[in-house]
Symmetry: C2
Subunit: 352 residues, 2 copies
DNA sequence: CGGCCGCGTGTAATCGATTGCATAACTAAT
DNA sequence: ATTAGTTATGCAATCGATTACACGCGGCCG
């Protein structure tokens, strides 16, 4: 009754061949004769045999699995990248392990465990804030697995990287506001130590500079990429006497929280303020107003990162020098930005 | 230079003990003497040893991994459940493999592969639409792994199940509209063959019946749980002469698409129409207007499902009879619903 | 003093699949 | 006809960790 799950031995016995032949019949069919192949297939069917991946992994030293480590699965930005990764991995026969990264030693230890325990053949890191030193150490250890960093960048790390053109995209988003006649432009920041957030700020400042403006410190609102932080930032905005007429938000989520906070106090977008977001989340076209935003090619990003990682996993020499793919984001103009109405009221941004 | 990754053998040699002792020192420290334990720890440090999970899995016939199969990772509803699952699993030392389910044989074959290849010790299924027959077959095979179904239900399957009170919650959502004086109430449906969607419709109809009303077929708008389908449904709404004054939407995503579609044509919520959604997505409180919705305890759902699964994995007898946990959803009243203004205009829903 | 118990450790089998090497049966070439 | 090469298969080692069983040693009890 309680018979054990059939192994390759059972198949071999049934088909009257050796286990070696069964193995070959299954993984390299052209190496066995047609007759044997048929007998083995029949035996597999009859016994209900399925591969034991642990056995194979042990012998082949490969788990046919990649590990995706990300800061927050709930974030729709990441989840759609994860989706693309999973599709690509599945297409190439790999499974996907996910690992939520929080702060703290415990998390890093877990990451390390995964990396070095032969559970995964490669790591796809969607977070640049992991301790670089540790990561380097890990990746230099004997038996370490290949790493690809996506979305964020770990400077000078030598890891393969796939990301979007944050600086340039942020500059173009800001330029859009400038083109609409805005001169008093603020920024809703991302997390303080986040590389991507900084790049977007850099692009923002760059575009301002190009127009003879420069950032006004009070108009750089602290944010954290999430709705709540945008919502809080709105309170600070409201308490200010001198307000910007336009905002470039580091991402759509915080942009939505920000607009929501403003609206509670009667500040209506785009009538009273223009706003450009970043990401083009699914909700962006359906928000009120539909959001003008920089669309990141999330599918492509996830797919290409997974491709690159699996390429390296299967042939460590495949890519040669560290890869660096930069994908271009695209401005999607909707209704959250409007031409600056009438004359500029109050002081403009300080001239640089 | 290119030395291989250290194994338990290396540690044993270094510490001058047998591999058995090393293994014991690491997994059941109380079985070895203090001195040995120290020597082994030192040897582990010195050699840089890390466990090879494949070896352990092979011997112990357990992968310390659970498989989560879901219809769409991008859906924020699922991704936050996945998040909770991952946390619980991590806390208990399990890794999480994710598998996107699409339609088609290929997908099911992959699911089967995973289930039977010892890559995972258990399956957490977040989708009731997987072929029941196949699932039963798989789960009856020798060596099959435990299955817990979450969110959706597979009737008569005998699987452990964790879900929310869809029928009752839908009824309460609808009752809220009734309490506000609405009599002309429509429903934005979920996918036609989706169990959850049907349950919500049932609850909707039940509440109407309780108020002496019954569903008006033309007011049941086809939907698909996603924004686009809600958006399309809005077009149909607009083309109708006799319109409902309130809508119960099967979920928040489609609700947002619906409101967005209406707004494009000047129909404003809650002025012209009231709407209750379902899920309480992160964006719900920040939408315009903030959405009245049934909040599903997503964290709890994911956590409890993972708990139950791991319990069974670790002790197949742990739960005894098939478990069925039903979590209660909670109505969150925000601003998308308003008291029916003035007298009832036009025909009410047909009396039952 | 002899026997029993328990602790700490080692020996070796085991988990399931893959694969290097050997072998046998043919084919082709000289 | 002999040699070389090819093809199909089997034998047995191997991957790394766990664990059943055995053993030696010291202490305790009768």
């Amino acid at each position: 009754m309680e018979r054990k799950t059939p192994t390759i031995q059972d198949v071999a016995r049934f088909a009257n061949v050796s286990t070696a032949t069964v193995s070959r019949a299954l993984s390299s069919p052209d190496k066995v004769s047609e007759g044997t192949r048929a007998r083995v297939s029949e035996a597999v069917r009859a016994t209900g045999y399925t591969l034991n991946q642990a056995g194979r992994s042990l012998r082949q030293r490969s788990a046919k699995t990649i590990l995706v480590a990300l800061p927050d699965i709930r974030n729709p930005f990441f989840s759609s990248i994860l989706d693309a990764i999973e599709r690509e991995a599945a297409a190439r026969g790999y499974g996907v392990l996910v690992l939520n990264l929080y702060f703290g030693h415990e998390t890093v230890r877990r990451l390390q465990d995964f990396l070095l325990s032969n559970r995964a053949d490669g790591l796809l890191l969607l977070d640049g804030s992991v301790d670089t030193y540790l990561l380097q150490t890990i990746s230099n250890q004997a038996g370490a697995i290949p790493i690809v960093v996506a979305c964020e960048e770990i400077p000078n790390s030598g890891f393969h990287t796939v990301l979007t053109d944050n600086v340039d995209a942020a500059a173009r988003a800001t330029q859009h506001l400038i083109d609409l006649g805005h001169r008093r432009i603020g920024h809703l920041l991302g997390p303080e130590h986040n590389v991507v957030a900084r790049e977007r700020f850099t692009g923002f400042a760059k575009a301002l500079a190009g127009a003879g403006l420069s950032p006004v410190p009070e108009w750089n609102f602290r944010g954290n990429f999430d709705m709540e932080s945008g919502f809080s930032a709105a309170a600070r905005f409201l308490s200010m006497a001198e307000r910007p007429t336009a905002i470039f938000a580091a991402n759509d989520e915080s942009a939505i929280g920000f607009l929501s906070g403003l609206r509670q106090h009667g500040i209506i977008c785009p009538r009273d303020i223009s706003l450009v977001g970043f990401d083009d989340l699914g909700v962006a076209p359906h928000y009120v107003p539909p959001l003008t935003t920089m669309r990141q090619p999330r599918e492509a990003l996830g797919r290409m990162a997974a491709e690159a990682l699996i390429d390296v996993v299967e042939d460590p020499e495949a890519l040669g020098a560290p890869l660096r793919i930069v994908l271009r984001s695209e401005l999607v103009v909707r209704e959250s930005t409007a031409r600056m109405a009438g004359a500029d009221m109050g002081e403009p941004n300080r001239s640089s």
